[in-house]
Amino acid sequence: MSRIETVQNWISKTIEGTYNTADSTGSNYSQVPSQNPFFVLPKLEKLSDANRIGMNAPTHLCSHYWRPGQYGFADDAETDVPARLFRRSLGGAVTDTVVVAATVWDHTFAILPPQTGAILPSFGMASLLDAASFLLHGCMVDRFKISQKGDQRAQYEADIVQSGKFTNPHGLTALPVLSPPPCMDSFRTKIHYTDSDGSTDVDLGSVGKVIEWSVEHKNNVNTAKRRIGDPIQTVSTSGSGAYVRRLPRGKYETTVGMLIDFLDLTDWTKSVQNLTFTNLKITVVGPLIDATNRHEFEIIVPKFAFESVDPGDDDGDAATQLNIVPLQDPVSLGTITGRIRNNQATLL
């Protein structure tokens, strides 16, 4: 293990009650599983007089804003931290449903409707590598992607952005170790949708033709909402910079794609006919929770069409790339929803 791989990152299991006020209880944090090592050093933007006429070089530097932090996690998708990040990227309210009393729960959520507001759920993130010990406030999930290729386990990628506010050192006690991630077996993934007739179930997994798939949701969070009167944060006695008070979501984008074995012209014909399908469910399945229920990480596209069906290549074999355009769901008003089944009563 290299030195940078000793870094540890945690996110809060709670949502901030007030923006830029991260949870201060260490046991309310979960360590983030990631294969993407980085450590945090907040960056202060600076201004100078270098561009003034008659100047060959600046005479001094002035502190400006703390640059909004941007950090990326990537690892196996599972129903704990990656599921929280997925839920926070969509941003809608969570409905928790008991499947088996005190043992198994379902958590369903949708995209925060822009008509409701632009502020996604925010949370705290702690990062530690030697002396680089920081608690970052006002974190949001800017981008979440889940994908799977061949026999590999489904992978998640999450990009976090934050306001620029931090605490150094992080000041949290009893931050927990990384929980052993459950085995989310690649071969158990299920992919279904309801055909354009509204009743026929199409099970892409049962015919064994899915080579790879991906779902990506980008929030395009605006990190430059700088305003007069923004709060100031000082390091030591004079290293002062401002940070933003709001990180509103921009216009979100959802991309869904699938590469499947080329069998016939059925999908291509559906594409040129602009047929509409419902309830595309991609379910990543994990280990048993009780005798019958397994951990499940499900992405649902309530209504969609094939934007294009293009020729593709799978190691020399013919494949087809299905470019799926999610249509506006008449109920949730968004493009995708999510469902997580696990052994926890809540999923914030």
Binding site: I15, Y19, G92, A93, T95, A110, L112, P113, Q115, T116, G117, I119, P121, P182, C183, D185, R188, H192, T194, D195, G198, S199, T200, D201, D203, S206, T278, N279, P287, L288, T292, R294, P330, V331, S332, L333
Partner: protein, 74 residues
């Protein structure tokens, strides 16, 4: 398309079991949750629908994989 029911003023009635009713329940829930989380008042109201569409019935699932008895909980 479901048969249109209209109220006395001629507007479509929003009845349970329709997409329009489900959308309003969903939006009210999101609105309440957002107001509670952010403390900001949400003023947006969904416009009244012109049609009424029954919620789709879930498709019958294809044969579901059964867990083999005694399979290890890995």
């Amino acid at each position: 398309m479901a048969k249109k029911k209209t109220s006395e003023n001629g507007a479509i009635e929003i009845v349970p079991g329709t997409e329009e009713h489900a959308a309003r329940e969903f939006f009210a829930n999101e609105k309440a949750a957002y107001e509670e989380r952010t403390g900001e008042k949400v003023h947006y109201e969904l416009a009244h629908p012109l049609t009424s569409t029954p919620l789709p019935k879930p498709a019958e699932p294809a044969s579901d994989e059964k867990t083999a008895e005694g399979e290890a909980n890995n």
